[in-house]
Amino acid sequence: MRFQRGVLFAFLILVTQMGADWPQFRGADTTGVSADKLPTRLAESIRWTVDLPGRGLSGPIVVGNQVVLTASSGFSQDRLHVLSFDAKSGKLQWERQFWATGRTLCHEKMCNATPTSASDGKRIFSFFSSNDLICLDLKGNLLWYRGLTHDYQNASNSLGMSSSPVVVGDTLVVQVENDSESLAVGIDVETGENRWKLDRPIAANWTSPLVMTGANPADSVVVLQSSKGLQAVEPHSGKTKWTYDKGCSTIPSATVANGVVYVPSNGLTALDLRTKEGGPVEVWNSGKLGPSTPSPIAIADKVYTVGGAGVLSAADAKDGKSLWQLRLQVKLEDRTSGGQFSATPVAADGHIYLFNEEGVGLVINTAGEKGEVVSTHDFKEKILASPAISNNALYVRSDRHLWKVSN
C-alpha cells in the first residue's frame, strides 16, 4: 500500500510538472489548450518585455522557470540563436549561437527561426528551417548537433520550412518534407542518432506532427500530416499504426481532443480514433470550416478555425454543425486591423487567445452562445508565432520582443 501511494504520489508530481510546462508547439499534448487561468485583459497584464536578436517566428516554450525560444540573424539568416529567459523576471539566463549547416533561404515572410523548439524537461531541442537540430541541456550546454540537410542534402524548401518537432518519451520526431527529398525521423533524445527514418511524400509541407497522448509514452502515437493524408506512427519504432489517405492541408496542422482528430482535409474533417481496431473513422466533414494558416483548436465540445478572411468559426465537435462566426476585426485609433492570421491560437479557461499578423491580440470568450471579444491589445509588431501558456502566464513573441502576460 505504501509502495502504491508512493507511485501515485510520484505520478501526481510528474503530471503536475508536465502540466505546468509548455514544452513544444501547442503545449505538451499539442492541443494548444491549457488548464491555466490567464488574464483576459492583455494591455493591463504585461509583466515584462525583453528584446530579442535577429528574427524569429518560432513560438516560446516553457520548461520549469525557463522560457526558451530561437532566433536567426545575419544577412543570410545563417546565425542561429537559442535563448533562455527567467520566466519570473524576464532576465536572459543564457544565449547560445550556432552556424547553420543547411540552406537558409526563406520567403521574406518567414525566417530561419520558424519551427518551435521542444523539450523533454531535461533537454531542449531547437530546430530551424535550415534543418539544423540542436540539443542542449537546460544550462545551454550542447549535448548533440544534427544537420538534417547536411545528412540528406536535398531536404530543404526554398520558401522555408516550419514544421516543429515533438518529443514523446525518449524519441524526438522531426518532419522534413519538401518537393525534392522528404523524410521523418525518430531521434534518440540521448544521443541524437536515428531510431528510424521514414520516406515521406515528395511535396512541400509545413505542418507539424500531432501527438495523441496515451496512458504512457508507449501508448502514444505521433500523427504525420501531408498532402497525401495522415500517417500515425509509434514514436519509438516508427512503425505505422494507421493511415488516412484522403489528402490534407500542407499548412495548418491537425489537432486532437478526446480521441478525435480534427484534420484540415477538404475543409475540416473529424476522425474518431476510439475504435476497437484503432484506425480512423470519419465522423463528419465540413467544407465551411477550412482553416487558413493557423491550426484548428478544440475546446470542450467545440472546435474552432480561423478562415482566410479573418473569421473565427465555431462548430459542434460532435457533428461539425456551425454554431457561430465572429469577424476578427479590431478598430484601432488609426485603422481597422484584422484579416491575416498566421499564429495558431491557444486557449485557457474557455478563452481563445488570437494574434493577427499586425500584432493585435484578441481574447475571445467562448462560454456563451456566441463568441465575444473580451479585450484587444495592439502589440504594434508583426506576430506570427503561436504563444505559450505556463503557470497562469501567456508568453507572446514577435521578431523583436518577448512579452509575459499574467495576473
Binding site: F98, T101, H107, W144, Y145, G147, D179, S180, T191
Partner: protein
Amino acid sequence: MLKRVVLFVGLSACLAGESDLLQAADVAPLLKTIRAVSSEGKGNREAAQAFQQLAKSGPETLPTLLAGLDGANPLAANYLRNAIEAISDRAISQKGKLPVKEIEAYLADTKHDSRARRLAFELLVANDPANRDRLIPGMLNDPSVELRREAVARVISQGNDEFDADKKDVATATYRKAMAASRDDDQVKLLKQKLEELGEKVDLPTHFGFLMTWRLIAPFDNTAGKGFNVEYPPEKELDYTKEYEGKGGESAKWAVHTTEDEYGIVDIAKALSPFKGAVSYAAAEFESDKDQPIDIRLGTPNSWKVWLNGKLLFAREEYHRGMSLDQYKMRGTLKKGKNTILIKVCQNEQTDSWAQRWQIQLRVCDPTGTAILSADRASKSSAAGAGGD
C-alpha cells in the same frame, strides 16, 4: 560533522583543480574526437563526452579551440563554438582573463577559418567593447563576410556624411571604396543607388561575377517531370553545331544568348520559347589562368543539375519555390585553361501565373563572394556588347 565538511571542501577543491588541469596537450585528443562527428549522428556520443570535458576547461584553452575550428566539418564546428562560448561566458562573468593576445593573433591571421575569426572578434568585443571600433575599420577587405560587412557599413556611413556635407567628389570616392569591398546584396544595392545619384556607373555583372553569355538549347521532353532523370544528348556530348529532335518533334539546336540583366538572370522562356514540360540546357565556357577552387552559385526557380567539366556537382528537383541570389552554393575546381559549366534547367507543366519562370542566374566566386572572372571576360564583353563572362 566536521569530517563531512572537510570532505566536501576537499572534494570541491579536487573538482575545481580537475577543470584547471586541462591543458593544451589534454585538449588535442578531445578536439580530435569532436572533429570526428559526422552524418546521421555518428560520433555524437563520443563528442558529447569530449565536449563536457572541454567546456569545463579554463580560458587558456580558447586559442587551441579556435585553431581547432580550422578545417572542422560544419557539425564539429558547432560543438567547438558552443564550448568556446561556454568557457568565455564563464570567464567573463567570473571576471577572469581571456588570453586576449593569442585570440587577437588568431583574428589577425586571415588564413584561419573565417567564421572562427569572427567568433574570435566577438570574444574580444565581449571582453572589451572598445575593440569593435579599434578593429573593424581595418577589415574592409577581410575574408570574413561578417567582419567585412561591418567595415563596409562604416564606410557607407562616412560617405553619407560627406554627401550631406556637399563633398560630392569625396563621397563618390568613399562609396566606390565601399562598393569594391561590399559582398552582401543589400549593401551593394544601396551603394549602386548612391553612386548612380552621383552620376557614376556601376557594373554589377562584373562586381558579382555573373556569367552573362550562354549557349542554350531546348526543348527536350519533361512531361510529368520525367525528363529530369533522362540523359539527353547535351549530357553526353557538348557539340554546339549539333541539332537534335526535341519534344514533340521540335528541332533543338544551340543558340548563343547574352543577357543584359544586371543581375545576370538568363530568361530561357524569353530567349528561346516559353515551353512547358520541357528540359533546356545552358552551357558556358570559363577561361581560368590557373588551377583554383571556386564557388559556383546558382539561383533558379526550376529543377536543375550542374556539371563542371563533365562532373556533376549537384542536382535538385524543386519547381517554383522562389529564386534568389546565391540560392545554391557548390564547390568545384577550375583547371587552368578552358572550363565548361553545363546546367540542365527543367520547366514543369504548372499553368499558374507564378509558375512560368524558367530562369537561371549563375556566378563564379570565392567563398567570401568575391567575383572570379573568366580570363577572357573583357574580350567577350566587348564582343557581346555588355557584361561578358
